[in-house]
Amino acid sequence: MKITAKQFALSLYEAVTGKPAAQVKSVIKKFVELLAEKNMLSLADKIVAQFVKIWNEKRGIVETEVVSANNLNKETIKLLKNYIIKLSGVKEVVVDVKANKGLLSGVIIRYGDRVLDGSLKTRLEELKSELIK
């Protein structure tokens, strides 16, 4: 049976957890050798993507994208981080901040497959559709 990228990534995660850095290196070397042997090196990109996903999931880390109209200062980002931790119940949050003037004001928070839209643009659009009704 064909082994999927997800299965590779999962076994790699299991092989490296709880091992010191020196050992990890040799595990990875062996892993790459295995891939080469199975002619699966082309899957490497997918395995990396899956590995990040699994790593984050197991460690309770969540990658978040915050889009805001203006650049945010550190304090606001920290507040947002705490808010997201409270909301999603994870241990750690990695925030990627982007600026988009089109939002006018407010922020949009994306984590996992959730979206929290607090931008003025969306509110104005909602108001528009409400008034048309």
Binding site: K6, L87, G106, R110, G112, D113, R114, V115, L116, D117, G118, T122, R123, E126, L127, E130, L131
Partner: protein
């Protein structure tokens, strides 16, 4: 000035009341799209058959989640899927697929999503009903006992349909299946019935003609037409009968009687097969998926007769199945035959011989039987099915040509007249009282002296005569719905009087 102020005041008020909260929403991304099917990543808490909103550059398109897999969701797209691209955002709408229902739909032609197709303006629907609904249970039901008057003599006499029954209409293409359903709808005028006609994969030209006919007969006043045409995507064809049933259930819940026609379920099965194969569900016999039986059984199970405690309404279903070259033992026909409470089988031979509607008396059955007939009809039509079936057998036998005894000859003569009476033009339903009258004439030998080729003249003449001279008798039959000796005597007199009044009848007898 005051108007301007008023508007501004109103606007201020509205805006003050308007509050939006940042809502948490679940979204996903399209990873694959094509043939009316989309595969979506994310949307982790999506429900089965939940509505999804695809945000495209051209606006929103809606879809329904059908396959919930480990790391992806398979969805059908309702409407134009060409605008959806890979990577587009998909939003969960947190509600199961619904159809608008209500009185305002009556007299309209709508698509399965309840959007108008007849150009008569927007429909203000009060309520939305889920498209998929569990059928009423045992405790809420009661046995079928009221008739649906189809106005088609052969059906009302030998294969009666009751309110709450599911009667399959089956036959080859171009043989009058839809005609039976349409005649039945036309005849529901004044019978306190709402009708829903669901056209699945039909030519839109055919449906347009049909709607025009219904309008002309005044039947659109109590009819909803749900149209998923031949050019609509399979997803719309698939939900059409369920949406139509939801519209019917609105009236059921109000305690009304509804007649729903599914025209036709073989095309529905084909569209579901298309969806299933595209969603990579394993194919089974004739490439239909494993749950094709459940597809139809859960739909037809929603036809019911509720008891008094639950409103006493009913949904009568008339599904239509098209066979290929009379093959009743194909997969879908056998399935639907086993689900329904009987079938009306239309036979090509009869159709080409000119006896239309081409109902085969031997193969057609109604499992509800005579409990769905008015008593008067029961009395005159009791033995007719047997006689019709025996006649077919005898007629085949007699072709060898031999001397016949008197009994057989009489049976043959009677049979010939019977099948002559069963002939009926399209769009000309016959009221129940008139049916009782003509059948009474036949079984009591009052038509035996009328030559076979004159039977139809005899019938039309008799109805005309009865409308003038026997109006009281007809009224009594339709009011009492029963016959007594006195009434029978009156009917006999009426028929004899009519026979005396017709010159051609007197001359030839």
């Amino acid at each position: 000035m005051s108007t301007k102020d008023f508007i501004i005041e109103q606007l201020k008020e509205q805006i003050a009341d308007f509050k939006v909260k940042a809502k948490q929403e679940t979204v996903g991304r399209v990873i694959e799209v094509g043939d009316g099917i989309a595969r979506i990543e994310g949307v982790s808490d999506v429900m089965m058959s939940e509505m999804l909103e695809f945000k495209t550059s051209k606006g929103s398109v809606y879809g329904v989640a059908l396959n919930l897999e480990e790391d992806r969701v398979g969805a059908i797209i309702l409407g134009d899927y060409l605008g959806i691209k890979q990577g587009d955002e998909v939003k969960c709408l947190k509600r199961i697929l619904e159809a608008p229902v209500g009185e305002s739909l009556v007299g309209r032609v709508v698509n399965p999503l309840g959007e108008p197709l007849d150009g008569k303006g927007e429909i203000a629907a009060v309520k939305h009903y889920p498209v998929e609904k569990i059928a009423p249970g045992v405790i809420t039901r009661e046995s079928v006992k009221q008739p649906v008057q189809t106005g088609i003599k052969v059906i009302d006499a030998i294969i009666p349909i009751g309110r709450g029954q599911r009667e399959l209409i089956i036959g080859d293409r171009q043989i009058g299946k839809s005609a039976i359903a349409i005649d039945t709808i036309i005849n529901q005028k004044g019978q306190k019935m709402k009708c829903v006609y669901v056209a699945i994969g039909q030519k839109e030209s055919k449906v347009a003609g049909l709607v025009a006919k219904l309008e002309q007969c005044g039947a659109m006043e109590y009819t909803i037409v749900v149209l998923a045409g031949a050019s609509d995507p399979a997803s719309l064809l698939y939900i059409a009968p369920y949406a139509g049933c939801a519209m019917a259930e609105y009236f059921l819940d109000k305690g009304e009687d509804v007649l729903i026609v599914y025209d036709d379920l073989s095309k529905h099965a084909v569209s579901y097969r298309e969806i299933s194969l595209l969603l990579r569900r394993p194919p089974g016999r004739e490439a239909y998926p494993g749950d094709i039986f459940y597809l139809h059984s859960r739909l037809l199970e929603r036809a019911c007769k509720l008891n008094k405690d639950f409103g006493g309404g009913s949904i009568t279903a008339l599904p239509i199945i098209e066979t290929q070259a009379g093959d009743m033992s194909a997969y879908i026909p056998t399935n639907v035959i086993s689900i329904t409470d009987g079938q009306i089988y239309l036979m090509p031979e009869l159709f080409y011989q000119g006896s239309r509607p081409a109902v085969d008396a031997g193969l057609s059955v109604s499992r509800v039987g005579s409990s769905a007939q008015i008593k008067a009809m029961k009395k005159v039509a009791g033995k007719m099915k047997l006689e019709a079936a025996q006649f077919r057998e005898l007629a085949a036998f007699v072709q060898f040509g031999s001397d016949l005894d008197k009994d057989t000859k009489a049976k043959l003569e009677r049979g010939k007249r019977l099948s002559e009476i069963f002939k009926q033009g399209q769009y000309s339903p016959v009221p129940a009282a008139n049916q009782v009258l003509i059948f009474y004439a036949l079984i009591n030998g009052l038509a035996d002296d009328v030559p076979v080729e004159k039977i139809s003249d005899f019938e039309t003449g008799l109805f005309k005569y009865a409308a003038v001279s026997g109006a009281k008798i007809l009224k009594e039959i339709s009011e009492k719905q029963d016959l007594n000796d006195e009434l029978e005597k009156k009917m006999k007199e009426l028929i004899n009087d009519y026979k005396d009044s017709e010159i051609w009848l007197r001359q030839e007898t």
